[in-house]
Structure formats: C-alpha cells, structure tokens
Amino acid sequence: MKYIDEFRQRDLAEKVAGAIVREARSGRDYHFMEFCGGHTHAIFRYGVQDLMPPNVRFVHGPGCPVCVLPVRRLDDAVELAERHGVILTTYGDMMRVPGTKQRSLIKAKADGADIRMVYSTQDALKIARENPKRQVVFFAIGFETTTPPTAVALVQARREGLRNFSVFCNHVLTPAAIQHILQSPEVRDLGTVKIDGFLGPSHVSSVIGSEPYEFFSEEFQKPVVIAGFEPLDVMQSTLMLIRQINEGRHEVENEYTRVVKREGNLKAQALVSDVFELRPRFEWRGLGSVPYSALRIRSEFADLDAETRFELSEKASREVKSCECPAILRGAKKPTDCKLFGTVCTPDNPMGSCMVSSEGACAAYWTYGRFRTRDGRTAGKEEIVA
C-alpha cells in the first residue's frame, strides 16, 4: 500500500532506532508527550517503545477525542436519545463510553433508545432525509480533524432546508489544550510531570497547519515536531525532538510534510469559521475548564443547534470515584498507577473513558502492553512496559 508500507519498514525502523540510541545522551532522560491518541495507538500497536533506549519515554497526552469529553456532555447525549426521543447518530468510538452510573449510549440503545453508529456526517444527513418525521441529532465530537465534516453537514442541511436535523456540538481545539497542559502547576511549577517536547498532532495539523504551535514552542521553550501516525513517523519525529534538545533549540518542525503545510488547509479553516465560533470556556475531562478551547455553532445556524432546539436538564453528572482518567489525560499518572486498572476497570467493563477508545492510554496499555516486560517476558502488573 502506497504511503503506508513505506512508513512501517523494519530496516528503516532499525536505522532510525540506531540513530536515536547514538544521539540520545546517556546522562539525561527525554520525556516526550505524544498529544494524539493516534500516536499512542501506533506506539503500542507496533511496539515502538521496545525500540527506544530506556531514557527516551513517551508521555501519553489527552488527544483522544472520546477520552476528553466530560461525563456531563455524554449524559446530555443520552438524555437527547431517551427523553427527547431523537435518532441520535454518533461515531462508533463513543458508543461504549460510560456516563454517570456507567450509563453509556450502547446501554441506552439496548433499553430502546434509537442510537445509530455512523461513519460520517453524510450518513447522519441521509438518516435525517429518510426519516422526515423524526428529529435526527448528530453527536459531534473530535478535534480539528472532525470539525470540517460537521461544518459541511450544517451548511448542507441549511441548503436543503432539512428541518429535522441538528448537531450537538462538542468540537474541541488542540493548541488550547497543549497550552493548558504546559501552564498546569504539575508541569510548570512542581515539575512532577516532565515534558521535554511534543510529538505534534498529524491529522489535526493537516487542517490547522503547523503555525498555531509556534507561539507556545517559543513561550514555553518546548520543541514541537508535527508527526504522522505511522510508526516510522513517530520514530523519526522522536529523533528530531532529541536533536532539538541536544542543540538547545525549541522550534516547530514538521516531520509530516507529505500532508501538513505551515498554513494548513485554508479552505477547511474558512468553512469552520463560517459555521463555528469559540466558546469562552469548555469543560474537558482531565483538564477541567479550559478557556477558548472549544467551538460552538454560530447564531446564524442556531436553528440547527441541538442545544438550542432541545431543552437539556440540569444534572448531577459524576465520574467514577478513584478513576484516574483525569490525571492520566494530563500525563500526571500512568494507567498502572490507577487502582481500578485491570481490576474493576477493563475494556469489557470500562469505568473511565481512557479504557474505551483504542486511542485511550488505558485501553492501549491493557490491550497491547499488559503483562509484558521489556525483555519480552510476561509478568505482573507492576512490571508493565511503557
């Protein structure tokens, strides 16, 4: 497969791994946060950590779209389907994420709510066209990558006069989240979370470009390398980060040049700003309330905004006590630091969002790394790799 196989070659991986071993200085550690769940997934699925020397570590970031959605918003989605009787359309990842009292969309569906998994916003529009007497809501989540398709759907619905379609908007923004992590006391003052640099988002950057990261690489003096989602992308970007640090640089570099341009996709950006505007604040699971970190639907499209169309009740939404998802999403804890990991909380019975998505750190640990030690033995929880 073109553009895939080239980036999974063993001989190249060995070469890059060799360079990393040579250039990583033995007197220090390198802690790199891979922002995106896509990177986390690649690191685990291909065993990238095994190819790194012990002093090069990955810190898993919050860039897993379903992981950062607060319980309250999920409870709202369940309410839309159950109380308002809409057809709720959603991306598959979202189905099993537990809300308050472990209530997930898949459970609501089993109890009779009309919840349908879609692959794209176009499927949601199609369902709305085919069910003119029903209200159809698209549960929009994700970072900048999934935002343009939602914008397209809203523009299309407006043009077609599709009155039974609306969007429950939960789109969030990457640069604001990275900045928030860098400003957190754990990173800035206490130094309990060590982050020496970032593997920057790949798909997100294809939309927003590499430019938005320039501010905080300068402000916080942390190097950023935009990295593709293939394992060789991750390894090459890691090498680029090590070189920047060794040379005392903190720049935004782009490893993913086959897709990402400095200015990004201007057409997509224009479309998004036609339809969406910044929310002054938005609640993230793990990061708390982050200013200007999410989008809402502009007033011109208010009639297609599910939050305007349906009255959502006040709720006492609660995460499971002692679930460490929030700290894990900030990079402050590892999945294995959580009491629930592997005992109460498994992919079969997830207590927190990080155990659901294959991009979530807990699910990746569990699925690919559980009981595996660096020398390839299998062993108890305390010895897990990563």
Partner: protein, 345 residues
C-alpha cells in the same frame, strides 16, 4: 439487500404465516423448496427424524446458528455459509463430517425467490463438501421479529482411528500454521453493508475445509490443534487456544498472510485484520519437525495455497499471545472486548 418487501405480502412470492402453520402451505413449501434441492433418501422418507449409519470411530456433533447481513455477499450467501460453518466445526475436531441437520427461521414477508436461492446454495455446498442434509425444520415468525432468515445447522461426523485433535494440546515449541490470507470474509461483508459500501474485489473466503483437513491428517496424523478463526478472527482464536492449552504464543507479524485489498480496507476503516472474521481458513498447531511437511501438503491444496508458519507456541503461565511486529518491536495480541469499533481520528 433486505429481501422483505411489504407490498408483496400475501402473494405467492413471499413467505407468510401459513408457511409455518403446520398445514398444507407448509407441507408444500417443504416439498417444493427444501426436499427438491436437498433431495436424498433420508428426507424423502418424510419421518420426524433421520436414521443414519455411521462408520466405526468416535462421533463428533457440532451446532452453529447463522445470522448475517447482507444475506448475499461477494463470494457467498447465508446458505453456503451455514453449511461451511458447521462442516468446518466438525472437521476442526479431526472428524470426517457426514450429515447435517438444518433449522430455518423465516420472517413473514421474506421473498420466496431469495429462499430458493439460499436453499439451492446450501444444497450445492453440502454436495461439494460430501455431506447429506438428512433432516430439518422450518418456522415462520411475524414481520419485525426476525431478520429475514436465520439458519441453524448441526453436523455429525466421525473421527478416524489414530487421530486426536483438541484445543488443549498446544505445547511450547509447537509450530503455528495458518492456511491462507486472513480477514477476507469480514471485509467482503463490510464492503456491502448499507452505510459503508466501498468498491473492492475482495470476496468472502467461505469454503468447506473438510477436504483440506483430510489431506493434512493423512500426511501428519499427529496434528495437535485445528481451529477455524471465524468470529473474532485470528487474534481471538489464538487466545482461545492459548487459554485452553495454558501456553503463550509468539507470532511474527510479517509472516501472517494478508491480501493487499484487505489490508487497505482495514486501514480505511481503522480495523485490525487480526480480528476480522474468516470462513474458509484454519489454524493448525503441530510438532516443529512436522511443520514443513504439513505446510507442503497444505500448499498443494487449492484452499491453502498461501499457507504459512506464523509463529511458535511458547511457555507462559499468563497464556498471552504476543507478536513481533513488522517494525521489530513486540506487542500483546489480546482478546477484543466486543466488536471492533472504527476509530475517529
């Protein structure tokens, strides 16, 4: 591809409630569709059950329910799938499958032409596999209470003298062989799902494997484990065997055969081919020194041209399946929690 058309209800072209009512309509349906295509002396006798002769040996019985959407897909349909599935389950015990029973549940409104097509396909598949469909049952449920058609088949077979195949016999050092490319069936089905249609040449690999198993056991009677990696794919099936045998496994990702189109389809949908279903592949585990001989015999059979040794059984009290990735790292190949869900990012 749903066969039900409410406008045709009540006409001769669709199944209605009388076809399951025990009266003449049902008798006609059984005679004109099932007996006609499955024709054999056992059925023709019209008794409540079949009386069959079995050669000497231990008897294997296995049953499997078949539900699938769409009913017709590239490379097959629910009819041949229902035959292959059970024939293969019997064959994976090292047995020679001989007889099948068939239970069909039809939904009111199901097109009779589709039923004919499915039954014909079952008859052909059974003939090709050398098994007889000796008894059956038909029921009709009201519209909305079934998904067109459900088929349950039970197979009976006999294990020849000297053969002892079971899931708990994998031991450290044994070789793990797969009979060909993985994921073909699952991807073929997905490519025809209503909300997902994409252009591809991928066809389901659905096939009866009893002929292949016969040839394998004739060459290497000491095969320890045979299993067909259907639902849950190669990943789930190897985990089952590892748990049953209380061993670990180390796979080599580069050795696992995957068709280009299947790999591309999986990339597109964010799926891991290790967990995508197969209906015409098997996993064989045998002593290391018999592996090359077994592989040679398999590759000589049309259903296993791409057979490959994909890994080794290792000692591991945690019974984990691990894989050396093509990049040179390693990972655990775990059971999935449920169905694979496509990723967002």
């Amino acid at each position: 591809m749903n066969a039900i058309d409410p406008n045709l209800q009540g006409s001769n072209d669709v199944i209605d409630m009388t076809h399951g009512g025990g009266g003449r309509a049902m008798a006609d349906l059984i005679r004109d569709v099932f007996q006609r295509h499955f024709s054999n002396p056992h059925l023709a006798r019209g008794n409540d059950g079949a009386v069959v002769e079995l050669p000497p040996g231990r008897v294997v019985v296995s049953t499997d329910g078949h539900v699938i959407s769409p009913l017709f897909f590239p490379g097959g349909d629910i009819g041949c799938l229902a035959v292959h599935g059970t024939v293969n389950d019997v064959a994976m015990m090292g047995a020679r499958p001989l007889y099948l029973t068939v239970g069909v549940i039809l939904e009111e409104g199901f097109a009779r032409a589709d039923l004919e097509r499915i039954v014909k396909s079952m008859a052909e598949a059974a003939r090709d596999a050398g098994v007889e469909i000796v008894t059956g049952d038909t029921k009709v449920v009201e519209q909305g209470k079934g998904d067109g058609i459900f088929i349950t088949t039970t197979g009976v077979g006999v294990i020849p003298e000297g053969i002892n195949v079971a899931g708990d016999q994998a031991r450290p050092g044994h070789a793990i062989i797969v009979s060909g490319s993985i994921g073909d069936h699952g991807l073929a089905i997905l490519s025809r799902r209503e909300n997902l249609e994409f252009e591809t040449e991928i066809r389901s690999d659905t096939a009866a494997l009893n002929g292949l198993v016969g040839a394998m056991l004739a060459a290497v009677p000491g095969i320890k484990v045979l299993r067909d990696p259907t639902r849950g794919g190669l990943g789930a099936t190897l985990n089952e065997i590892a748990l049953q045998s209380k061993v670990g496994m180390m796979l080599d990702e580069q050795a696992i055969p995957i068709k280009r189109d299947v790999a591309a389809g999986c990339e597109l949908l964010g799926l891991d081919p290790l967990y995508v279903a197969n209906e015409g592949k098997l996993i064989a585990i045998c002593e290391a020194d018999a592996a090359e001989r077994l592989l040679e015999v398999m590759r000589g059979h049309e259903l296993a041209r791409d057979a490959a040794i994909i890994g080794t059984v290792v000692e591991d009290r945690h019974a984990m399946v691990q894989m050396r990735t093509r990049l040179g790292g390693a990972r655990v190949v775990d059971y999935l929690a449920g169905e694979q869900l496509p990723r967002i990012c």
